[in-house]
Symmetry: C2
Subunit: 471 residues, 2 copies
């Protein structure tokens, strides 16, 4: 974190805690500069950040004042999905969203791509170039079926941060978290089986279920504490459910982190009903709090948790590097990997193994955690400013996704069609439900810099929603 | 091809056609050098090649003589598999073979890896390095679901050589031929379905069937002309078969190219019985004859041929670049790609698209066709020399694989265990049958240079087989 970002965070916290009160004049630039031993321009930059966040307002010739405290929009209530097994729909809608990836003119808030334009990624490019220049033969050869040994060792080291102690041999490299989950489902389920999911749930995960002919049962989920353990238990008593897919850390799209007690409760429920947990930790490393929250896998004693993750959100999607720690399903996962997907690209594995080994990964993730936290704050601010006032917004505890719930009458599927013409893309909430619920919701990707172009796009988005409300 | 290789081929052809007869003295080095306008050392190198191939023998102080013509071992007869649908077995045996990939001390004749140590691959390394040095952002971004547009266009151009005229939009990039076939099977079949295969058939393909719970029915196949159309027809009349997997060009493991009339007959049979053809063209570009043989897809008029191929054998396995032209199943393949496997690594696609566009691919493949042809000749020679005499050996029309049939009493599964201790790896024939037939056969990978170490290994292999015969 740069100095001015550090200072801005410090001041924002003081305002948050009431040390500087509404309407109060803030210290002068000069005095802050002396107090913190930083340059005048650093203080000025910090104040600009706070102004963008609408925490302070400048008054000509008098300095900065604490802005009137606007009530934060409430968090959405616990979701109320249809609680019976259903076939996943929404494929055409997902395909439309994916197709827009290639149109570079679109301002994309719809997908899940991270920011790749960061100086801390330079060592990765350098390593990729080194491998090509030295013609490292392994880069063009067949990959070992479980992936490059060196990378598996580095991943085992990373997993310690989430409390999971495994050796490299218990980890299988995959081309992302998506194929990791696919393998996990293939290893455990047969066509026609039922799997429980959080509601809302990432559309890609639900399309995996559809592809494997598995039925989804959506479980009520709280945007601050996660899946309702009670509702899950009820479902387990009613239906022959094979497993539950959980994203306990920085869930997509809601951004919550399950409290540790709930993680343990979910696991002990799984044990009692002898089901498996498919744990998706793809955003776990981007949790705002440090050290990062633990995985459910870290409490697993009998190998029933299949932990899936990747470097897609933390480093880059184009690496296609993920992994699965499949517990007791290791042999089945290895077979399914060969018998459905095949081996991986070695060159990106070799590059990333060095990137992690040499400490560049941790430096990069540390930076991105803070970058995304600030960006989420700015985009939240804009949503509050440009969207109708009777909305609910999540308070993500990490990652870079925001979930907005609009009044029931707004149909985001229609709105998103209108937005297409404006070259603005969002993900309508219906994608995140097996049966197309949440049409009055949307997910916003806040990974990219909140510049003027994007502020303008959020403004237009707000205007389009206002129009939809009035119709 | 270098000058001496060119000259060696020319002389070998003259011997083959009887222009120089058995026992006849060959022209002196000096006179050949004058006749062909090449250096003395070029002629000497050419004569060395012919000596290795046992076509000529040196006699001290008199020069080179045409060697006594040894009868070539016969080609194996038409295969006679069990002709009913069975579950594919042999997974543990395949896994053992795959695991050996990582042991660099093993002399590997078992796998299907090509030779990567070739100067014509330099432009590919250069392009990979250029992408990393210029930090081409697309390399780290999400790949479009059907793959990089530029690569799809280059693949469409390549496919013209096999007689297939398609546009880029009809092609989906995959991480190799293996996932391409996997997608093809997923798009067409359900668990419990029956698919016909050539017998013997590549073990990887059969494990795909196993992974998807599809039954295999093995069809008698001739090592020189391919699958028996009559036997296939009989099977189609008896069983509800969904499709047939064919490798019409340089089949793995037999090396045949189906005559064009048979390709057409197979297609018209598929039309009459309304089944699909899964066409695997992975070795097609390595056919000895130029121009390359056509694909069955090139005769397809109603989109029932799903053509799968890759750059694994022609360029490098580590690129993980393959494709599928799925005909009428395009939409289903796109969905299955998202819903089971996910997107691909863009960086290798970008590098290879440039490699093809700039003409390096064709130069490389032209070279490798000849390199592998010569190596196959040398390894065939060694097999004749060191193996028992009552064997059958294929005469591959391309690729780099040799299939050897030993007397019934030899169990190559046991022999391969003995070979393990000698750090020599072959692929026992049983892997190439759904039910573990062909235990008296083996497949030899002849892609790597026939140097002294490998000659010694083939010699040891021969000795081990001799021992097994005597037991």
């Amino acid at each position: 974190m740069t100095r001015y970002q550090h200072l801005a965070t410090l001041l924002a916290e003081r305002i948050e805690h009431g040390l500087y009160r509404h309407g109060e004049k803030l210290p002068s630039v000069r005095s802050l500069s002396q107090e913190h031993g930083v340059s005048i321009s650093t203080v000025q930059q910090a104040y600009q950040v706070l102004e963008t966040l609408q925490l302070i307002t400048p008054q000509p010739r008098s300095g900065y004042f604490v802005a009137p405290r606007k009530a934060k929009p409430p968090v959405p209530a616990m979701s109320r999905p249809v609680q019976r097994p259903v076939d996943v729909t929404q494929w055409d809608e997902v395909l439309t969203l994916l197709d827009a990836r290639t149109d570079k003119e679109i301002i994309a808030f719809g997908g899940g791509a991270p920011d790749l334009n960061q100086p801390t990624l330079k060592p990765l490019w350098k390593e990729m170039s080194r491998i090509a220049q030295h013609q490292v033969m392994d880069a063009l050869s067949y990959d070992p079926l479980p992936g490059q040994q060196e990378l598996r060792e580095q991943v085992a080291r990373l997993m310690l941060d989430g409390g999971t102690s495994l050796n490299a041999e218990e980890i299988v490299i995959t081309a992302g978290c998506h194929p990791a989950l696919s393998l996990a489902l293939m290893a455990v389920c047969d066509p026609g089986d039922i799997v429980a999911v959080e509601s809302p749930c990432f559309y890609g995960t639900m399309q995996l279920l559809r592809g494997l002919d598995i039925k989804a049962i959506e479980i009520p989920t709280d945007p601050e504490t996660g899946i309702s353990i009670e509702a899950l238990e009820l479902a387990l008593e009613q239906w022959p459910i094979k497993g539950v897919i959980l994203v306990p850390n920085c869930q997509n799209p809601l951004g919550f982190i399950m409290p540790e007690a709930r993680k343990k409760a979910a696991l002990s429920l799984a044990q009692r009903h002898d089901i498996v947990i498919f744990e998706d930790d793809i955003y776990g490393e981007l949790a705002t709090d440090y050290p990062r929250p633990s995985t459910i896998k870290s409490y697993d004693i009998d190998g029933r948790v299949l932990l899936c993750s990747s470097l897609t959100k933390t480093v880059a999607p184009g690496l296609r590097i993920g992994w699965i720690a499949p517990g007791r399903y290791l042999d089945r996962v290895i077979h399914k990997k060969y018998a459905a997907i095949g081996t991986n690209v070695p060159s990106t594995q070799l590059a990333v193994a060095a990137f992690i080994r040499d400490g560049h990964y941790h430096r990069h993730v540390r930076r991105m955690r803070q970058v995304y936290q600030q960006r989420l704050a700015v985009y939240t601010c804009w949503v509050r400013q440009y969207f109708p006032c009777n909305i609910c917004v999540t308070r993500p505890q990490g990652g870079f996704l925001l979930w907005v719930e609009l009044p029931e009458s707004v149909d985001m599927v229609c709105v998103s069609r209108a937005l297409c013409r404006l070259k603005i893309q969002i993900a309508p909430g219906s994608l995140f439900s097996a049966s197309g619920k949440y049409r009055n919701c949307l997910r916003l990707n806040c990974a990219l810099p909140p510049d003027e172009e994007r502020r303008e796009a959020i403004k237009q988005l707000g205007a389009t929603i206002h129009n939809a409300l009035e119709e």
